[in-house]
Symmetry: C2
Amino acid sequence: MSAIRHALSVKRTDDFAQWYQEVVSAADMAEESGVRGCMVIKPWGYGIWERLQRLMDDRIKAAGVDNCYFPIFIPLANFTREAEHVDGFAKEMAVVTHHRLIADGKGGLIPDPDAKLEEPLIVRPTSETIIGDAMSRWIQSWRDLPLRLNQWANVVRWEMRTRMFLRTSEFLWQEGHTAHEDRDDAMRETLRALEMYRSFAEDVLAMPVIAGEKPENERFPGAVATYSIEAMMQDGKALQAGTSHYLGTSFAHAAGIHYQDRDGGQQLCHTASWGVSTRLIGGLIMTHGDDDGLRVPPAVAPWQVVILPMLRDNDGDEALLSYCEELRAGIAAQTALGEPVRVLLDTKPGKAAAKRWDWVRKGAPVILEVGGRDMENGVVSQLRRDRLWGDGGKPNFAAPVRDECIASIGPMLEEIQQSLLIEAQERREANVTRGVTRIDELETFYAEDQRFPGWMEVQWSKPTGTALDKVVEQLKALKLTIRNVPMDAAPADGTCIFTGEPAVERIYIARAY
Amino acid sequence: MSAIRHALSVKRTDDFAQWYQEVVSAADMAEESGVRGCMVIKPWGYGIWERLQRLMDDRIKAAGVDNCYFPIFIPLANFTREAEHVDGFAKEMAVVTHHRLIADGKGGLIPDPDAKLEEPLIVRPTSETIIGDAMSRWIQSWRDLPLRLNQWANVVRWEMRTRMFLRTSEFLWQEGHTAHEDRDDAMRETLRALEMYRSFAEDVLAMPVIAGEKPENERFPGAVATYSIEAMMQDGKALQAGTSHYLGTSFAHAAGIHYQDRDGGQQLCHTASWGVSTRLIGGLIMTHGDDDGLRVPPAVAPWQVVILPMLRDNDGDEALLSYCEELRAGIAAQTALGEPVRVLLDTKPGKAAAKRWDWVRKGAPVILEVGGRDMENGVVSQLRRDRLWGDGGKPNFAAPVRDECIASIGPMLEEIQQSLLIEAQERREANVTRGVTRIDELETFYAEDQRFPGWMEVQWSKPTGTALDKVVEQLKALKLTIRNVPMDAAPADGTCIFTGEPAVERIYIARAY
């Protein structure tokens, strides 16, 4: 038995949902705002989002996509038009109906009846329609194509059951919207975005994902093809962490996005859209969190290294602080993952042990404690968040001399980044069941009382229409969904687990967030 | 007479308001969205905002302020509370009353009467109250102070008369909100933010500003003191380009932001707030624009250098593109203003001359044209946007050899940055009238039919209450306002232009946006 006293009160294996909430709170990432379904993203959570946003934005810019900004309000008429074109159009939206408050005569305020809008405005749930309007103005000829736009924005979808980062009424995201001459070019963009997300998830978030096409029943309403990246959380469930859609000409038709082709004829554009959101942070938590809190991959850690001087409120503090400041400056001059190391000298008031555990829960990759004795010996007490516990249930401190600590910090951060990825990859591989060919086997597997059954890769004949509906229902009874058809899978070589017909491809099946 | 044929159809001196609209449109910065009072910020305009945002954010982070994110929706009750505490509380806000759309049975959509919110939600006009709520939860003792938060967000104020970038219903901004132990610390923060804005405006936007305290009648509702930076536009009007407020304890009282002090007693925090917005881009246009469009200071130009190859759609194009690519790579390896030079090789289809004038209107600091003859001679045709016209009304091209062009680009960009600032400073100084001591002189001066009368610096006795109201009315008749009391002015040495009493300080008077 381990004698470890973990920093959280709930273990992943005991109650994963409760553990998740505790990490969000104990790592000081976010909290309920008191406004239904909306969260406050606190500095540590927002700092991770900013890192993530900047690194994704660099990739978006490098791909030649232009950022811009469209209004938060969308006229109701845009949705009327879309509702005509799109089955499954979602109607849970925040509706603005008035533009003024007025005193109610009883000490309160009410919407002013004289300030009712002629046409209600919708707080954007996504910007397809308003960006489509702009594209119809901005595109005249093939010379204007491709037109590739991206927006970082807040969007609102009225959600009944919310969960911080994973599903909130307001969330932050980027939405790419592009218009092209033909199917091929639009599909190239759709897959480019998918690959951008896949490599970002793995290289930056250290979160292995499966990139693939969603089945027909899981497509974005109105899309011709929807692709996703799917990540396995530590409870074996899948998280759809990003999507990319080829929209054909249906959105162009609805918004009137035409262009004059090279022969002078009028054509409809083919459009695509792609997005990731603050949901990625939920994925980060459920990929890298442990029973001591979050572990932030160094690439997105707002502070990669935190120095904690063990101050005693006495004359010795000055020398200690100066020793720590030299340490900080030395580390700040290092690089890791192609950027200067982000290091904080944390001099906030508080007990050193309490501060250590705060940073453990937040998941700073490396914590350096420096007490009077460390200074005398010219060393630093160094704790790696990914190797927190040593023998005997004690924190696994190393004690390098200061210069060695400084010189090794860059490679160490890179090693942590890599090791988090490998750990997650190995866990995923251990939790994918392959080779099941009979539906009763699948049913037995998921009906069993396994805590975290994981994913199953099976082969199928890609049924459509009512045949697909039947499959979806069958899976739904087990709370399962088809996640996607992986891009890089081996060719099918068996029969379909659902229909018994020859299989045409492999799919992943899982419970999902 | 100059034979110059300018790139815009309207000159600043002919119709400044019309000229402004033309720059916004001709520089491809923004356009009306069709949604009342909201604009679409196009890639060039948004690119400038991103530059500005990143450089301001660097300063905010360097000051130790933490970014975070609060909900876009604020419960009505927060405003009821604020309306009690704050005179002059503005009520023009977007009010969300429903959370679902439903078909109206006639092919349209309406807000679902069954989905009416129990309490309406307000789209944030500013986040004082909701951040105040969080501060009241997050602050327990003096150890938690100062608490310094900042948010980059969109906000909405229902505006009747809108003008792109200057006054729009939705705009983008940052809002800093800080809580402190006492007046001194809160005031230190208020003035730190003010100085951050002042130096940012001058060093980054090349926009000289006067930092100072607003008179009592111009304070933010509820503030104890409001400070601003004021910039002179080319029509001589003032633009309030950023504000910083010391809020005393009134907002802390309303939101219940208490702390336990060092002696164990309960105290109210002193709070401050400070913000700048997309309005700064309006200021940029009216400071640096000319009759050929915008001139973007290199520090905030998304592309500082644009290379235009004069392609002929023939066999020579390949060699020309390769010559241009070497030029691009050479320039990209240079630095200016402490960052790598941002250079674009623009290969979009289109006539070279048309593309040149597009980039002139957008205000790229340096345009490099390369034709076949340039390549043969090993040179580059170089055009500085701040010295566009040469003798005889022709664009003022230089023809440095390519390597020399590359080597000189960094210093040239820095010189352009500096020269735009000096030009604006000299213009402002030439348009401030000083030494007027009698109110009838002031009245005559502003009553005259001068196109751009500029600002006046006068001395006053700092009247308050009804005496101040009288002054404000007197100025209002001339469409004038008191801008601020400059921080660095010479001491008063005369009598008050309004009251005849001994003056205590100097103030700036101007027409304003």
